[in-house]
């Protein structure tokens, strides 16, 4: 019976621990929650100043889409932000401008080389990698060739959009790169493609010993080899990406923030709490209600910027009733756009065309307001009888602008109910939705589209050109006139003519297309008021230039 004292002692120990736990729970405010602990030098400083909370930037966002930090592979919002701050491209955009500016290349030249375009880039002789080694033409060749060989998600930008091949990239000397492009490609479109992270330059000498079996892809997930203002400290999968300032950055003043922590935070309520408590200095994607709540907070400022995304409802042009253009037009007249804008609470602008605000070719024409009589009439003309039921597919979760997809869908559902068309809302995971959309199986859906590069062609072709097997194709809308217009516009070199062509395309699609374009969402950031120099630039890569940010 010697188990007895054991059991007894254990019993009392348990109670004791319980009491201790409760006590510590109550006493906890003292230690860990202090948001600005001065003495956190425990983390080894990378360079220069000792690391403190004052020169550390904590940026909370949902980057659960992050799967890689290799510039040749990254194609997700979550990956492009850190990659764009660690690596540099030949050319870039200045925030808010559509003019190209030099980065690694001091100058570039587009020449007509007979049967091909000839682009020549002269590298900045001062450009160095974080290791201190100079950026050479060989590094550019290596990096672009590597992206083409790896051929992952973003590679089509080089391979298809620019029609780049390895043979057509050559080093004239250590400081000059020549790129030849076929005449079927617009050199201007290609130049804007080259601002994207897939064309970023990686240090060949650093990567070569670490290629492994996957061309260095996995090595680059835990190390960086770029010339940008930040270097990679660590990536804790699905929680944080920690960047340290590059002490050797050649491109400007050393970043004020010695360390930037990109913290993955999925729940909007958690992000709100993080900015209110000061645990985060910046939060991304503030919904309209939280924005309203934060507006009264003296410690928090809001930064809003229009994204380049467009949210639309689309219908399959081969499935009744929307195989009839009148029915498609009726849909556009049936929607109460004011309600949708109300739901967004300021987090979006009404846009009823396929080219977003901020892009050349955007017309600003919003011809549709809800007109139920007209919608009814058009439906009747199209032979739609009352009582039709149409499946309406939406993604699960929150859409851009911070309103749940299903909420926007429900508002459209109520609109169409008023003219006797009942929509059957079906929520699908993005994965299932995409599969069925690609297979041209969805009669009607609510979705968004983000352009792959800063040029109207990034929207013109997918929305209008059936043969590109993108959006027009997914909605089975094969319209020769739209295809012709989009192709013409894509390669037109005269800017004024090009804008005119896109205006024509826009009008044509507003009358005939399978899309009801709804809005361009605003992206809202919450900033602690001591954060300076924050700019959100949706057309640029990266969207947020971390090296410009400081705190006072």
């Amino acid at each position: 019976m010697n188990a007895q004292p054991h059991a007894k002692r254990w019993q009392w120990t348990a109670l004791l621990v319980l009491v201790a736990m409760l006590a510590s729970a109550c006493a906890a405010p003292a230690a860990p929650s202090a948001p600005v602990a001065g003495g956190e030098e425990a983390a080894a400083p990378a360079a220069g100043d000792a690391l403190t909370r004052a020169n550390t930037l904590i940026f909370a966002l949902d980057h659960s889409d992050l799967i890689t930090l290799d510039p040749a592979v990254a194609y997700e919002f979550g990956g492009i932000l850190p990659v764009g701050n660690m690596y540099e491209t030949m050319v870039s955009f200045n925030p808010g401008e559509t003019e190209l500016v030099p980065v690694l290349a001091t100058s570039w030249d587009v020449a007509d080389g007979g049967d091909m375009w000839k682009l020549t880039f002269t590298l900045d002789p001062n450009a160095t990698f974080a290791s201190g080694a100079p950026v050479t033409a060989d590094d550019v060749l290596f990096s672009w060739g590597r992206a083409i060989d790896i051929n992952k998600s973003p590679a089509f930008l080089l391979i298809d959009v620019c029609q780049m091949t390895k043979e057509n990239i050559t080093a004239v000397d250590a400081g000059v790169v020549e790129l030849k492009l076929p005449k079927t490609v617009s050199p201007n479109v290609c130049l804007s493609v080259l601002t994207f992270t897939v064309a970023a330059v990686v240090e060949q000498a650093a990567l070569e010993p670490n290629l492994g079996s996957d061309m260095g892809e996995s090595w680059l997930n835990d190390h960086s080899a770029g010339s940008g203002p930040y270097v990679l400290n660590a990536w804790e999968r699905s929680s944080t990406v920690t960047l340290d300032a590059n002490p050797n950055w050649w491109g400007g003043d050393a970043p004020a923030m010695q360390r930037v922590i990109l913290q993955n935070m999925l729940e909007p309520a958690n992000r709100q709490a993080a900015i209110e408590t000061g645990d985060a200095d910046i939060i991304q994607d503030v919904g309209p209600e939280v924005a309203a709540a934060l507006e009264g907070n003296p410690d928090v400022a809001l930064a809003k910027g229009l994204s380049t995304l467009l949210v639309y409802a689309s219908v399959n042009a081969t499935m009744p009733p929307f195989d009839n253009p009148d029915a498609r037009l009726a849909l556009r007249y049936a929607i109460n756009y004011d309600n949708i804008i109300t739901l967004l609470g300021g987090n979006g602008e009404l846009v009823q065309e396929i080219i977003p605000i901020g892009f050349a070719g955007h017309t600003g024409n919003n011809p549709f307001t809800q007109d139920l009589d007209k919608a009814k009439e058009l439906f009747a003309k199209a032979g739609v009888t009352e009582g039709a039921t149409i499946p309406f597919i939406v993604a699960t979760g929150t859409g851009p602008g911070g309103v749940e997809w299903a909420t926007v869908a429900a508002s459209i559902q109520a609109d169409l109910a008023q003219i006797g068309v009942s929509l059957d809302i079906q929520q699908m995971q993005q994965s299932e939705l995409l599969t069925k959309y690609r297979a041209q199986e969805l009669p009607m859906l609510l979705m968004n589209w983000g352009p792959d590069f800063t040029d109207p062609d990034a929207n013109g072709t997918p929305f209008a050109n059936y043969e590109a097997k993108s959006l027009a194709w997914r909605n089975s809308w094969n319209d020769p006139q739209a295809i012709e217009l989009s192709q013409q516009a894509a390669i037109e070199l005269d800017p004024a003519k090009r804008i005119e062509l896109y205006a024509q395309l826009t009008e044509y699609m507003q009358n005939n297309g399978p899309f009801a374009m709804l809005f361009q969402p605003t992206r809202v950031y919450g900033l602690r008021t001591n954060v300076q120099g924050f700019i959100y630039d949706p057309g640029d890569t990266p969207n947020v230039s971390l090296w410009l940010i400081s705190k006072n």
């Binding site: 906890a28 995409l434 690609r438 979705m447």
Partner: protein, 335 residues
């Protein structure tokens, strides 16, 4: 004893086979294409086709399964379709977070459930009993995802008594990786600041996750104790003049323990389930959240990996319970 272990192992292998087959079957049912899902909305058709081929998704199902199993025999769990990494690497990164959370929740469960259950039984029909039963009632009926949101709102956002979501303040570097459990690693390396911080980060999610099982264990302990208290021998012992404490310690609690231990084993499984929701709300980088994203993107090698790991953990927990039995009472030593 050896035969018993062999039987157990045989059973485990059968279960693992079944789990892999079931997951594989579910993946075939799925209405979507994992390759397309992994490449996102803007991907071109050719890219998707190439990725399908690379993954072997263009092969017949039987071939796919055979390949999977033959790799599995070599200890290779395959590659995740979404993260494009070895599933084993993903699990190595995410499993410790879940284990730490689950064990903490189990600790909460045991430290709250058993003492309160005993107290309630000993003070039957008093306010202590009533309080404990109300706690059990609420804990067993509260939706875990609502509790988590509310606890964070109150103790982190409003009162700021406890740290927010995540395993550690983001300014603190994780401790040296030994076990992957931050508290344990911090303890082993003497990193007191990280230890305190990691422990504080654990409190809210552990309570959230442990509340349901605490309720179950509390009820179980209470009724098990009551049953023993009503036994004749207890009355006899009391009549013999043995002290109350001795009776309870020697007879009642010891005899009430086996069913309590069984329920602890079962609760471990329910904690793994609850971890899915808790990890979503508390930004916990564990396998629950990994499983959720993997299911939504139909990344079945990853789902299968999680399932296989869970299928190993669960019988392991029950075996530990069995060992626990034999420590308390040698007569039930399994044979």
């Amino acid at each position: 004893m050896a035969r018993f272990i062999i039987r157990r192992l045989g059973g485990l292998i059968f279960v693992l086979l079944g789990v892999s087959l079931l997951t594989f079957f579910l993946a075939q049912l799925a209405p979507a294409d994992p390759a397309g899902a992994a490449l996102g909305s803007n991907a071109r058709e050719e890219q998707i086709a190439a990725y399908r081929q690379q993954l072997g998704l263009d092969q017949p199902v039987v071939v796919q399964y055979a390949r999977y199993m033959s790799r599995l025999m070599q200890g290779d769990l395959g590659n995740s379709i979404r993260t494009r990494r070895a599933v084993a690497d993903d699990l190595r990164d995410f499993l410790p977070a879940t284990v730490e959370l689950t064990l903490s929740a189990l600790l909460v469960t045991i430290l709250l459930g058993i003492p309160l259950g005993i107290l309630a039984a000993l003070n039957r029909n008093t306010w202590i009993d009533a309080g404990a039963r109300i706690l059990a009632l609420l804990g067993g009926a509260m939706p875990i995802f609502y509790i988590g949101l509310v606890l964070l709102g109150v103790f982190y956002r409003q009162l700021q008594w406890l740290p927010g979501p995540g395993r550690l303040d983001s300014t603190l570097p994780p401790p040296l990786h030994l076990t992957g459990l931050y508290t344990v690693d911090a303890l082993l390396t003497g990193n007191w600041m990280v230890l305190a911080n990691a422990a504080a980060h654990l409190i809210l999610p552990a309570i959230t996750l442990g509340l349901f099982s605490t309720a179950v264990l509390l009820r179980m302990t209470r009724s098990s104790m009551l049953e023993m208290l009503g036994q004749d021998y207890v009355r006899t012992a009391k009549a013999k003049g043995l002290s109350e404490r001795l009776v309870i310690g020697r007879h009642v609690f010891k005899n009430a323990l086996p069913p309590i231990l069984t329920i602890v084993g079962i609760l471990f499984g329910s904690l793994l389930s609850g971890a899915v929701l808790t990890e979503t709300i508390f930004n916990w980088p564990g396998i629950g959240r990994y499983a959720t994203t993997s299911v939504t993107t139909l990344d079945y090698p990853a789902v299968m990996g999680v399932a296989l790991v869970a299928a190993i953990i669960y019988p392991l927990a029950n075996t530990l319970v069995d060992i626990g039995y034999s420590v308390i009472d040698p007569r039930v030593r399994a044979g």
